[in-house]
């Protein structure tokens, strides 16, 4: 439990550091800073709800400590993404009685 909390903290610190770097006058190498910091809220929301997003938090944290993702890690992530996409995109069951229209 403590691991992902520390990881999220590390990610937030790293994103904050990038944000400060991006706000320096004349430095505009990373123009997507504004949305990066808000993206962390998805991770926070998942952790708060007890949903297992810890592996993703830890994976992001590792990129800030100089560890580059291996080809197998990238492949595994993309496989998981495809699996989740298929579950979310699956057609909805028929509308039930009392259930409002879209």
């Amino acid at each position: 439990m403590a691991d992902w909390k520390q990881a999220l903290e590390a990610v937030n610190i790293a994103l904050g550091a990038i944000s400060r770097f991006g706000s320096l006058p004349g430095v505009n190498m990373i123009p997507y800073i504004g949305v990066v910091t808000t993206a962390a809220s998805a991770l926070q929301a998942g952790l708060n709800a007890g949903i297992n997003v810890a592996p993703y938090v830890i994976a992001i944290k590792d990129t800030f400590t100089g560890e580059l993702p291996s080809a197998s890690q990238i492949e595994a992530l993309r496989t998981k993404i495809a699996e989740l996409e298929a579950r979310i995109d699956a057609p909805l069951p028929p509308r039930e009685e009392g259930e409002p229209e879209d």
Partner: protein, 138 residues
């Protein structure tokens, strides 16, 4: 003595112009690497995967029980009352996020020396929009 002077003069003249010339050559021949790399898109993909996990959890939670039963649940009711509409919004935002992530990934893979800031930025925005479409994460 004359040979030494000539050699010294030659050496000094070469040294004098070798540095700027060498630097110029280095500048001309150095490949300018993309400041945004596979690590950047890997971060986006992990955030996207986290949002997908939340979306999947929402859909599962709101569809594992009959609608009538959910509406008697003080937690389930506010979260799932408009479950059909919410899942459709999630699906729509998910399609955009997935497309933006793949576009950024392909751009970086295919253009290692071009600036990928705009496509990575678009991917981040699409992923955060997707995340915002998931009830409970706003």
């Amino acid at each position: 003595m004359r040979k030494v002077i000539i050699a010294l003069t030659l050496a000094l003249s070469l040294a004098g112009c070798a540095t700027p010339a060498g630097d110029l050559f280095k500048v001309i021949t150095t490949t300018i690497e993309n400041p945004l790399t596979t690590v950047d898109i890997y971060r986006v993909e992990n955030t996207y995967a986290a949002a997908l996990t939340l979306a999947d959890q929402y859909r599962t939670y709101c569809y594992e029980r009959p609608y009538a039963v959910l509406m008697t649940d003080p937690v389930g009711r506010p979260l799932c009352e408009r479950r059909r509409r919410n899942v459709r919004l999630i699906q729509s935002a998910r399609l955009k996020a997935g497309a933006a992530v793949v576009a950024a990934r392909n751009f970086i893979a295919g253009n290692p020396t071009l600036n990928a800031a705009s496509v990575v930025s678009a991917a981040w925005k699409a992923v955060t929009d997707f995340q915002s479409a998931i009830p409970g994460t706003r």
